[in-house]
Symmetry: T
Subunit: 151 residues, 12 copies
């Protein structure tokens, strides 16, 4: 890794490890492994270093966000269910000074009412939602842009 | 275990490990170990295989629900406090295609207002509440019935 | 009837007389007569005396609950639509000192929002919901248990 | 224009004509003309035909969405203030069968409470928010992807 | 440790491990280690035994509260983000019979609206808020007083 | 009965027929029969003719209110549970032009929240609450006064 | 009655039996008998058989709706006060597969707030409101049209 | 036009110009042109003069309502999306002294929650909803009746 | 005064000193002086000692309630505007152990919505409302009854 | 016009063109033309240049506010119905850096509840309400003062 | 004082005695004494007699409003904090028949949410807000106009 | 008093003068005089000058807070009932620049719902609640700390 290479953390929230295995009509057929591979591929083209993390544990996601702080240049996070319930993740995100992109696979406004409320959104820099797995690649590109313009 | 034997997972949520040790006027005097023994006894009579799990961690409960998916025929869950706050457990339950029985020891409508709202209920097949520890045995029976009629 | 024989009242609320005849995707194909026969059968095995009552009238249900007071040992009630609107039934139930099991055929949390609020639940001892007609038999068993442990 | 060339409509809602001229701390320094030029440039690379439209009139936006119906392959819309108040635009969008990307320059969750509610979001396919003017280019790319996978 | 020595548990909730490292305008410049050292110092003067615990995991905090039950004489807890979302911690606290002091570094009424609602407060004995790190020492003193008057 | 004798209707709502028999800590030990006897006694002193009616049926109460219209000079009603749920009784009361006194045995503001809302109160002329059975006699006296001043 | 003759049930809810006798400024001067005569007259012209029913009892209205099921081709109902409070009538209506027209004499949006909420409306096919007694004739005509186009 | 001929204005709100072309399962297959032709036909039979107006612009609808004031005898309006959001149209309608019939093609109570609230309804004389295109003809007839009885 | 003579305090809240002088259509034509004279007259008949107090100051009313504590046998209070806003008066009333009758001249359910909420009602023993000035005499009688039955 | 002459824009919202012609009990008898003449007269005395604009179109009002930006020294606006529904006008006003006076003819707190909520008020500098047409002249004077003290 | 001279009362609510001494960024630098001097100066020009009153006591403000009734021709009041909490002041204002102008120094819509709700506004004739101390002079002028047109 | 001696004001809100005399299960047995003596004792040790004030009058508390401004170094206040209703006290506190400690004897989250909302909390620097009378001493110590670190 050269000194110029930027580092990106990608965090997947609860139940996303089952992507492509359950409820494909909502979440599509692509597995999380396939998504991560695509992200890795694109990151390589962009000369980025990427780290992946998935957990069903709210606390583990807070831990990894904290660990991200001094070692990464940007964060892409899909908080999934914790989007709507976690003040702890919100607080952790708010302590970061790097750009944060929140990704949702589906358009959450087409789902149940309680999914329209977001606790984490105000702590993110930007959002991408409704593009399915492709949303992560758009987020990566958008993040590149934010890094370029803020540096 | 014969091929005909059905497998059931029983999940106990946060603080239930203290059953029978604290606040007996709300939760009764029976310990969780005693309850599990009763369930195991009844399961044996019904030629069922049962696995037990208790955790105070929301993420750990999501993990075990996911692990349940391809190995169990039915799920009995008492989400306890997470009944009212966990979208992650709801999402995990919603990915299951096996019958799910939600059990509550007490009648939650006799307790504080915030316990009247349930996030997990819509993801379960059926509910049993207010029978104390006996509710698990009724749930087991009801589950047997659902398995019999859906197969 | 010997002195030892316990007496149970079973009350069916509005529109349940049409069970098995309308909207089978919500309520199943079994008629109320068939359900009552199953309950009677099981009651016989358990040496219980059972009385059945169905009405579409809120006031008639209050009348029968009052009449139940001094002659029955337990009550199983499916208040149906009145679950969500009747303070009168709640008040009548609250005057009883015998165990009361509230039964719902479907999981009311999977239906419209206004069905998530229950006025009668706080006046019942326990709930069974989502097992279809089988719920009555589980309620009967649970009631037996409550009678046994409280006597 | 060859037969293969896809057509995209880009609609900018009220007050966006002043972009880059007012409140740069919220909306940035880039003018709408500059943004449209960037979009046109990128569209050319992608062999897309793009049409631009801006209006402060809710009705005029409904008119242009209707006109879009049979002539365009995709729609990018930033409804601005009408995001939060227009059922008419939502209804018009809901009649379209082409992919719709909703773009917001800023992260609306960091602004006033009444901007957290969106009437149009449920009628869009996907959202991109918080990337400033760059969001339009990400939307264009995402739209290309949606067109590719749905055709 | 003599038999007379009282034992106190100090629990720090999510993100408090970053105290003094991030957002000093909200949380001050003192690190958690420094705070714990101050508490330990004061505890020594008061002839108290103190144990410290910090976690970002809701479940881990429930675990440690349960473990506290039979071994400690008092509890000081700063539930941080979980103040506003955790019924599980509330339930665990409610099972304790020892005095519980809830500490907040900042005056939560000066922050966002969703931080004005507290789920854990009703399960605590007393609160200290807005004194920064000093609040822990006041809590310790107050706890001493409660232990003295209740014994 | 002389031509000068005024006629009063007294209506008791659902479950009041059990007064003095159930939950005496809320409703007192006096039976409805005893109350009616007291009212009749006092009415005799005041040279009033009184008719009594009790029903658990909302519709029956509407029927009797309608029947009251052209034959009575005043109405005393304790709608009990229907206070909080019946628009039909409210509508019937609103059609009367005679004075209506609403009586409640207990102070409803000391009971559950849903009892603080009254649908019928706006259709009555006056209220008496919290005096137990004595409230009816006060209502009778107040009614006499209203009849005297309005004639 | 020839085989071709369609059968219509007309149900009037609580207090409508007093039409034309009370509060004419809200409900007009026409009596229910006169309205029914007009409906009968028009039905005769249209070769329809009409049955009339009025009750102040929610349960009786549920009974008659159930009885309607297999004998009538269409239903016109003015649920009056029960519009706003009866889930039981809604449930009964929802079991019908014939067209249902809900009629209101006055424009309920000009009256008290609690009359703006309708529980029965979602179970009806169509509504006519604000035309006074004439609304029933319009409903009859509209019903004819629905029967014609659906048969 | 003889002096006796009454003049009626018919206003169609946003997106209704697409009737019969989009979402036929909600709005039916008839086009607005066909509806207007039917209305015109019926108006001719009734010796009425009718003017038609459709716009997607809230302001244009306010303009035409104002223009209606001194030249028309009655107004039929389907405000569509503006039903739920326009105080301006409500204010304009409230200034009219002629009868106003509000028409909705579908039963809005069967659609999304935000469509259950109506701002314009209180300013209309009467409503017809759920009859599809036929509702306009019923409205015309009802309007004739109102004109006849008020003159 | 003999030892047997009971002492009653009568407190009139803000603006009641203007009774009979302003807005007679709401409050009647009787002045506060006349009301107090009537109360005094009746008290004399009942061998009661009465003290009167009126103030527009919330704090002064709290002062007098406190002073009442050890010197009076009963309290009649019309908190007027403070009914809806004063927690301080509620707290003071709650400290009394003597019976408290809350009086309102008008039926507050017929007035503005914010007058339907009562803070003081839960701290009173009973209420009398809607009888105009006569309500005080009924309250006095009811108070006598409560004193008689509780002593 | 000398260089010293200040320029003022006066914007009248929807339905204000009918002032003095409709509902005089709410809005008074003065026409908009008369009001503008009075304003012009007063402006002349104050050596101000005034431009008038009225529209029923939300978008047209946004257009004119934008056009105002670089050519006017102050703005007087009566948004009428758009006060309560227009985020677009609020956004446009917020982009201005000149003083803005919001005028309402009537006291909106005496009208319907939905008129108590204002979306535009937070974007104005000051408000004048309830003085009828005279309010514009007071606004003009107040604006003069603000211009004098801020320059 | 000549008979023609009109009398005006000016009431300043709680904390306004500190004007110009605290929080000048919200309330400006002018003291209350300076404001009163300006008002007095202007009143003299207009041949008005003015009385000033300031109090931090809700009850004292009610007292002075009552005293105003028969001796003043108009009232200017800045209820400050009591705007949002005092039903007592509202009731007192409502008893006046003279014109009342409510003044606020700042635009309350730019401040905290709880300041957007006004209890006193509905009892005033008109409002002036956001002009700082100058608002009182505008109010005086507006009051003169109201007195002129109503006499 | 030496120049170094700091001055502290202690304000007790409504009904606190009855401490130790009423409802000891909520407020304890210690009288306010005893509490003040304890505070005075501790203040002496800390070389502080303390002034005490108690009032049941909201306005009097505002007066004393204002008087505090230029003469005291810190403020300890228990607003009691006014915590939940007084914007005036909040405004007065907000004008102070010295540290303010809000004290509550009991844990207000264990009491009625309306006591969970605090208007004054946001204007205080810190809170101490639930320690009974001891809370004042903790507040004094905390205040000392705040004075030390801010000077």
């Amino acid at each position: 890794m050269t000194t110029a290479q930027k580092r990106i953390m990608v965090i997947h929230g609860p139940n996303l490890n089952l992507l492509g295995k359950r409820e494909p009509d909502i979440y599509g057929h692509t597995t999380l492994e396939a998504i991560d591979a695509e992200i890795a591929e694109k990151a390589k083209q962009l000369n980025l270093s990427v780290t992946f993390f998935q957990s069903n544990h709210e606390g583990a996601i807070v831990d990894i966000i904290q660990a991200t702080m001094d070692h990464e240049n940007g964060l892409i996070i899909n908080p999934a269910a914790y989007t709507h319930t976690s003040v702890a993740i919100r607080d952790a995100l708010q302590m970061l000074t790097i750009p944060i992109i929140e990704v949702h696979l589906s358009n959450i406004y087409k789902r149940e009412d309680f999914r329209h409320r977001s606790l984490t959104a105000a702590a993110a820099t930007a959002q991408v939602a409704g593009f399915g797995a492709r949303g992560y690649l758009l987020a990566l590109e958008g993040l590149m842009h934010l890094l370029a313009t803020s540096s």
